[in-house]
Symmetry: C2
Subunit: 439 residues, 2 copies
Amino acid sequence: MEQEVIATLARTFELHGFGNVETRAVEPMDQLLRKGDTSKEVYVLRRLQEEDGGKDRGIGLHFDLTVPFARYVLENAGKLEFPFRRYQIQKVWRGERPQEGRFREFTQADIDIVGRDTLPFHHDVEVARVMLEALSRLDFLPGFRLQVNNRKLIQGFYAGLGLDEHGIDEVMRLVDKLDKLDPAKVRELLLTEAGVTEEQADKALALATIRTTDDSFVEQVRALGVSSELLDEGLDELATLVRACAPLVTERTRIEADLSIARGLDYYTGTVFETRLDGFASLGSICSGGRYDALASDGRTTYPGVGISLGLSRLLVPLVQRGVLTADRSVPSVVVVAVTAEETRAEADAVATALRARGIPCEVAPSAAKFGKQIRHAERRGIPYVWFPDAEGAGEVKDIRSGNQVAADPATWQPPTQDLRPQVVVTTTSTSTSEGESS
Amino acid sequence: MEQEVIATLARTFELHGFGNVETRAVEPMDQLLRKGDTSKEVYVLRRLQEEDGGKDRGIGLHFDLTVPFARYVLENAGKLEFPFRRYQIQKVWRGERPQEGRFREFTQADIDIVGRDTLPFHHDVEVARVMLEALSRLDFLPGFRLQVNNRKLIQGFYAGLGLDEHGIDEVMRLVDKLDKLDPAKVRELLLTEAGVTEEQADKALALATIRTTDDSFVEQVRALGVSSELLDEGLDELATLVRACAPLVTERTRIEADLSIARGLDYYTGTVFETRLDGFASLGSICSGGRYDALASDGRTTYPGVGISLGLSRLLVPLVQRGVLTADRSVPSVVVVAVTAEETRAEADAVATALRARGIPCEVAPSAAKFGKQIRHAERRGIPYVWFPDAEGAGEVKDIRSGNQVAADPATWQPPTQDLRPQVVVTTTSTSTSEGESS
């Protein structure tokens, strides 16, 4: 199931010119800890037979794909062509005690566009559109909404309220608590902890309540009577983004300007993204990201970036666990070729070879058991057809769902397209046997 | 590059009814150390903030895909249908000091067929044929030969020489050194260490020199005048295998019965496989495996298996490093859609959307620079076409390799098939920018 989803995502990303990058899972600890505050989540590696203090103590498993990608950009800057688009779909690890909804090992799918020195704003629009398109192609997903905001808008608004840099950070930190605390409590904290005036607190809270599916948020912000150059820039960028995504909107695929979104501690400097899945509020954001003015820097050159990261396991595991998603068969085979007697296994092999040459996955029965048993062998795996070969290299093929049996030639017989590959089925009882990422 | 190879392998495995299994990279140490002698290679994990003696000390990264698969089979035995075919393509890690030709992190592609209690011999033939087919589809590979032997043949031969179980193991261990020591030295060790007679030593060495591309090895073994029931069984199995693989043999894809192959310390009990790449002798075997009478066992039930493991990084990294393999462009895009002015970027976007809807990867130029600069942008990335949109949603498309420029409609224009995806090119200068698995 995850393989199918990854293939769909990769196909979409490549249609938009994003190249695949893979980085090693093991990174030096000094790279991994560059951001500081995530240090608790890192798995440190040591070789089993290593004496204490061995050279290898300084390595660990990556916990996201942004940190390794920043290292990759710096290491390969001389060879890369900018703007550089990459997608990266890999496992990441977090050293947490496993508990429900938390995975030690999970798959992320990231897209980023990185520039050298500058990166035009239209790339913010681009990553939003690409991820909307990718998600909308996952047709088993419930509806979802991409929530967008802009740090310039928030910071410009707070600056327009008369707050200084420290005040802006404090208010942003406290307003970000609105998803856990009620507004009255946040208002109280704004007054006591951030030391802002009642008017400043009320306007900051009013801003955070604005939510529109088109660019009408601009008027609502203007109505609050606050202005600054940075605010204008943020409003303009966000309005451009929402308008540019509008052609992709359907009943399932929605976009929303949500002026409460700030992506707290992360170092975003403009556009920010979060994504909510309908009916799975408890999952939080399944797909987040934004604009960094400095994704990477080597001191002389700065590499601004904009990207979104999709938490694939976070998305799929709950859907599979709740039995929403399953596959209609447990193996790729469309056909079991029956074996009449061990001495004629070669006849069955020849039929299978002819079918495979035409792209039809199949397997040959493991033993020359009674045909009833060979049919049950197919049935238990959900394989829809059994082929009974004759001595002339052809035979008859039975659709074991309908019982229909017809004469057929392996050089021409074709199953219906929907039978060719296992289908992802939306259901309410799970029969999946695949291993979840939780451990 | 590796992604393309993985897709080709997966497609072949699925055509043969092998289902994809993925297991977590992190396994309990008691699972990983079950085999004992590989303990030096394991990376042990600990959480960075963990106090010594924490619960998580007992986990590590898997170093192959066989050990995790054996665990998987036991854990899911109740839900699996046997014989169970799976392929598994994942990273594995070995805690070695990195050095040339050794990778801390590398990709393996394994296929196995597992039975419950019994597994007919024809599945040995099946895995050999599937892997031969998969390798032969990697058309950038030099020629290769699958070397096959059978432990029953070796053990049966030594038993026929009059050796007991301990003697058999000793002789097998010493004969296995023939790839490092010369025959005279091995003969001396057989006499002094294994304590066999001169005749026994000579016959054991004679057996190990037999190498045939058809089943004529049977006669050569018979000519040595040794017999035992187990030897007969081994000769019969190996002859069946070589004959059944003959239809797949081409100049590039070869099979060879090599009676020196024993796969030393591994717990194989019948068929054994190794694979050599022409011109890359120093790589050793790139693809190895065999038959286990007990791939897994829970005390009551035994699960015999037969499988082959392809060392994908071991195969690809040297080819890329020696510049044998490269890609003809660094991005998936076939077309750069030029932007005449920032105000008309939407026209370029519309052309790109129309092309993508028909499966043609493309990107829109990052800025409305002079067309010469936009063409160079494509050129530097190896992108073959630049599209100049007009106000009517069509425009002209230029093949920048030939300079040819023609009027075109994005709803119908189609590039030649070989331009649709980056091609793997066999060359002598490497321009790849992808990150190797070595670290």
